[in-house]
Symmetry: C2
Subunit: 149 residues, 2 copies
DNA sequence: TTATTTTAAGACAAAATAGTCTTAAATAAA
DNA sequence: TTTATTTAAGACTATTTTGTCTTAAAATAA
């Protein structure tokens, strides 16, 4: 699996929030609409909040929203916040000493491939994806029922 | 992580065997040279044997070797035998209904990226990598002590 | 103030992955 | 035949990831 489940949940929730305005959205709503365990999602979003990508507010009409930083962020920022940077820094075979001077058999092509992965995640901000989403009605749930409006 | 640990161990053992002639190599030797748990490696290699990519022989001077099929195989064949094909067939967000008619935000670029990954793993057979390895002395262990000879 | 709604935090459980250990079966050599 | 060497098989443990549940803390409104 390229991305952990936690990471995928974090990405989908970020996409959900990107379609909303600045109001706080309850995690309960997100978890129900995207069919993700509420408590599990809460933990993941706490990470993103700690990272400054989201802002939360307690109490009635509280919830979570993307911070300004989060709106400018790309999917790569979310992935690194949750799964860490290893995918984009390490040898494909996990060999500590692998490098251009002493490469594993995959070294050269892995450099290109992992750049392709990071480009894929980096090329558009959440803000921009939200715009495209409103045009293209991108799927972000298994049921495909999310309304980008 | 792109590949599971089991998968990486299987790849490194395959590369080790690719450098050898047709004789049986003991799993003990591979596990010591590549610093992989012996019993764990045994299980992984049993999978590859069951898949017809390797051949094993019990008893003194027994061991394991690549089958003719295994010599012609690519790293992609090893990866699919151990981690399964999901990485190359599924949506990046794991959404069941994602497809060109109803895509997730990553759908289009993921098609290209996952092809890049599979090309990376598919472009050379173990046989060919072994030739290159003998020229380039590719690293396949953390210590980097493997002798392609 | 009191009750309600929400996130925060952390204990706990379940499932998947990774790793260890013991015994069985096959083979070869003494 | 007996012993040693090797893979096969499976029970078992440890760790990581995923998921659940309870309580605390903050905020709002009655």
């Amino acid at each position: 699996m390229l991305l952990s489940k936690s990471c995928v949940y974090g990405l989908r929730a970020s996409l959900y929030l990107s379609a909303k305005q600045d109001e706080y959205i309850s995690i309960r709503e997100i978890s129900e609409k995207l069919d993700i365990s509420f408590h599990f999602l809460t933990k993941i979003l706490q990470q993103l909040t700690a990272d400054g990508l989201m802002e939360s507010y307690k109490g009635p009409n509280g919830g979570i929203r993307l911070s300004p930083k989060g709106r400018k962020a790309t999917l790569l920022d979310i992935v690194i916040a949750i799964d860490g940077p290893e995918l984009f820094t390490q040898c494909a075979l996990g060999l500590p000493g692998c490098g251009s001077e002493d490469p594993c058999p995959l070294h050269e092509s892995w450099l290109g491939t992992r750049t392709a992965i990071s480009n894929m995640l980096e090329k558009t901000s959440l803000e921009e994806i939200a715009k495209e989403g409103k045009q293209n009605r991108f799927r972000i749930s298994a049921g495909g029922t999310f309304n980008w409006s």
